[in-house]
Amino acid sequence: MRKFRLYFEEQNRGPLTQLWQQFQRQHAAVFGLVMFSFFLLLTLLAPLITPHNPYLQNPDLLLLAPSWSDQGLVQYPFGTDDLGRDLMSRLMKGATYTFGIALVTVLGSLLMGIALGALAGMSRGVQSSIFNHVLDLALTIPSLLLAIIIVAVLGPGLWNTTWAIMLALLPQFVHGIRNAIQDTLKQDYVAAYRLDGASNWQVLRYAVLPNIWEHLTVMATMALSTAILDIAALGFLGLGAQAPTSEWGVMIADALDLIYLAPWAIALPGILVFAAVLSVNLVGDGLRTAMKKRREN
């Protein structure tokens, strides 16, 4: 549907609009973006729009079937769990825990990563090699093991495990940012900045960061998908969120005992975690291919 162009005017669109055009062209990525924004909205608005109080136990409505099966009630669309709490509002509230906390973890990890990555990237010689080796160490410890150690020291709890995941994601970020910074430092326009007398900080602020923030977002999306999976896994193992909180991983672990009576109690949180991670991955992939396509032409 090429626009009819009467006058032959110059059309140099900024890199961002080009990126958006490439991104728009991939339908899967757009679908991912829609799902991602749905989850984002759910995370922010969950406390307001949940039909029932997620922690209100209703003793005479135990293990109600979801509304689409015959004995289900319509005001409990997804039925209730074995303590009589409405499953749908627990799932919505769960979005704030699993999705929301994952976002917070990735942002924290990103900021720390930028700080450390910049230090590692800008410094040369011994200092940068020290940074790399310390990160290689952090990279060797699997995230679950890190979580176990932190839980052992601080005790289980949602916020303790976010520390564990943040530390687990950090090495990926710092490695990625350090490589990105060192690549941009090789560019000529950085040398030009230096010649104009820019200090390290100005080079970082004006030359390097604006050029790598797209790469950062792609890394952030990849990290977000691992963060969601890790939070759900830690919740499932009982190291992360504790019993009454309605984090998705914990809900699957609770519903495990009713695997025959209420299979939907396991299926629903699982589908939501899967959808959240899929949306993040679709957006991440879409961004990556858009950047590649933009670089090609």
């Binding site: 922690y55 136990q57 003793p59 135990l62 293990l63 074995d82 303590l83 009589g84 504790q242 019993a243 009454p244 495990l256 005992d257 009713l258 695997i259 025959y260 009576l261």
Partner: protein, 538 residues
């Protein structure tokens, strides 16, 4: 490349299909049976434990006792002791022992002589004499015997000749015989103990057991399985099963899954929620048995604010027992009024029922000086037992009930063995646990749970030591006349209701799910299950 891939897939596929048919598997496997237990045993010597999980796994399989209990009537039957005589003043007992009873022949020890009197004296002197070489081995605590204050009861155990033993007591005790019939009083091998002492590894007596029971110990992989082989010269006759494996599966859903995929033949404590589902399946059946047990919520009476009776009564009023019965027991249990189950002959029928009344609870709290409530933790045991199928779920329910009266409760749980260790050191505020009877005697409920000697040995969950409660249950033991003992127990139950050291919640039926191919496995209402008569058809 793709061709190479395909050529790799074909052999793997065929191997899988081949697995469907079972060619000639040797006898030890075909006649082997798998019992899925809900937790790992703490030790292989019943004297040293009270937890039902361990008793189920070891006592009836490896050992025999002097006397046994008839599951139907609760009467005492002769086992290793063919018959027994009581002196007139009721203070000395004579037991004549069964001849030609062989101990186990295993890889690590083979006995030279049959069972005789010094095995009995060794088993009980180990508990009584603190200077006995084996007394201190492995920590030196014998919770059940200490809780029933056996040390001050039994003066001496003497072997008059090779097959008669004499017990001298300090005072007449009507529950002595039933205590000898409990699983804790299993007979060990003196010869094996002497051999281990010589080797200098006495603690192996409790880790690699030797007994006279139907199976002998082959192998134990911690938290995985215990493997028993058949004891060929068992005195009641060789069992049908050649191999018995206790598969340790703490997770209830996994245990149920293993039953449905026939990886387990018998499963302990199936989840109450799934009982309906199992009865519909043709290949699996459920056995149920009303058994003497009680699930309760005990407060640590030494820790403020639980040392105040008003607070304990308020918490009792705040709990909605009917909701718990529906959500946790799924209606397979009856509401408990007092510690004793209704089936016990000393049950107090017209004791007033504990009502669910949050308003009164708030008043009591205000009276006790806590108008805006306080913070406490509820310890929920992670393992599923017959008296409490899902303590974590029950704790969550109570958490919501307590929140209504302003009490902020948090749920705490650890792995089963460290959970019990921390409980016996009274680190808890309150705990959801329970007790299953080992014999028909009501004293088996009061003494191990609420007596002062139980408080020292760590098995009194309420940490409650009340002198006049103690002398009530002691007097009950002195007379043998049933009517008089019942009157003491009635006043004892009334006293517990006033002091409320613990809130009894429910008496649950005991369930066991097994595959239809397995026969001869019955639930023993008192103490551990026995696999001696089990048979597995193909």
């Amino acid at each position: 490349m793709i061709k190479a891939l395909l050529s790799l897939m074909v052999p793997c596929g065929s191997v899988l299909i081949l697995s469907a048919c079972q060619p000639d598997i040797p006898e030890t496997i075909q006649q082997g049976m798998v019992y899925c237990a809900e937790g790992s045993p703490e030790s292989f010597n019943p004297q040293r434990v009270t937890s039902g999980t361990t008793i189920d796994a070891i006592s009836q399989q490896l050992y025999d006792r002097l006397l046994d209990i008839d599951p139907a009537t609760g009467e005492l039957l002769s086992a290793l002791a063919t018959d027994w005589r009581l002196s007139e003043d009721g203070k000395t007992y004579w037991f004549t022992l069964r001849p030609q009873v062989q101990f186990h022949h295993t890889g690590f020890f083979s006995p030279t002589r049959a069972f005789n009197a010094n095995d009995v004296t060794f088993t009980f002197n180990r508990i009584l004499q603190s200077d006995h070489p084996y007394h201190g081995v492995g920590g030196g605590n014998y919770p059940y015997f200490q809780s029933v204050d056996w040390g001050s009861l039994v003066q001496a155990v003497v072997a008059e000749n090779s097959n008669t033993v004499r017990f001298e007591l300090t005072r007449p005790d009507s529950s002595f015989l039933s205590n000898l019939a409990t699983d804790f009083a299993s007979i060990l091998s003196a010869e094996y103990a002497a051999a281990l002492l010589q080797q200098g590894t006495p603690e192996l007596l409790d880790q690699r057991p030797i007994g006279t029971g139907p199976f002998f110990f082959k192998e134990y992989k911690k938290d995985q399985f215990i493997r028993y082989y058949r004891h060929p010269e068992y005195w009641r006759g060789k069992t049908e099963l050649t191999q018995l494996v206790f598969d340790l599966v703490p997770d209830n859903a996994k245990r149920m899954a293993k039953l449905l995929t026939h990886e387990c033949d018998v499963v302990a404590y199936p989840r109450n929620a799934e009982l309906k589902l199992i009865t519909e399946r043709p290949d699996v059946e459920v056995q149920s048995q009303t058994s003497m047990n009680v699930g309760f919520w005990a407060f640590n009476t030494k820790k403020p604010p639980f040392d105040n009776v008003l607070v304990r009564k308020a918490l009792a009023y705040a709990i909605n027992k009917d909701a718990i019965l529906d959500a946790v027991y799924f209606g397979y249990a009856d509401k408990a009024k007092t510690l004793l189950p209704p089936t016990s002959w000393a049950f107090y029928h017209d004791l007033p029922e504990q009502q669910y009344d949050p308003v009164k609870a708030k008043e009591l709290l205000a009276q006790a000086g806590y108008p805006q409530g306080f913070r406490m933790d509820i310890w929920a045991m992670p393992v599923q037992r017959l008296y409490n199928p899902n303590a974590l779920k029950m704790a969550e329910l109570m958490q919501a009930d307590l929140a209504k009266i302003g009490v902020r409760a948090s749920v705490v749980s650890f792995e089963w063995n460290s959970f019990r260790r921390k409980l016996s050191e009274y680190e808890h505020d309150s705990v959801l646990i329970g007790w299953a009877a080992d014999n028909a005697d009501p004293d088996n409920f009061f003494r191990p749970l609420l007596s002062c000697s139980a408080a020292e040995s760590g098995s009194n969950r309420a940490n409650w030591c009340d002198p006049n409660f103690d002398n009530l249950i002691n007097q009950a033991l002195l007379t043998a006349d049933i009517k008089q003992r019942r009157s003491f127990y009635l006043t004892a139950q009334l006293y517990i209701d006033e002091q409320m050291p613990l809130v009894s919640i429910a008496h649950s039926k005991r369930f066991q799910a097994k595959s239809v191919k397995v026969t001869g496995v019955t639930i023993n209402p008192y103490g551990g299950i026995s696999m001696a008569a089990a048979r597995k058809s193909l």
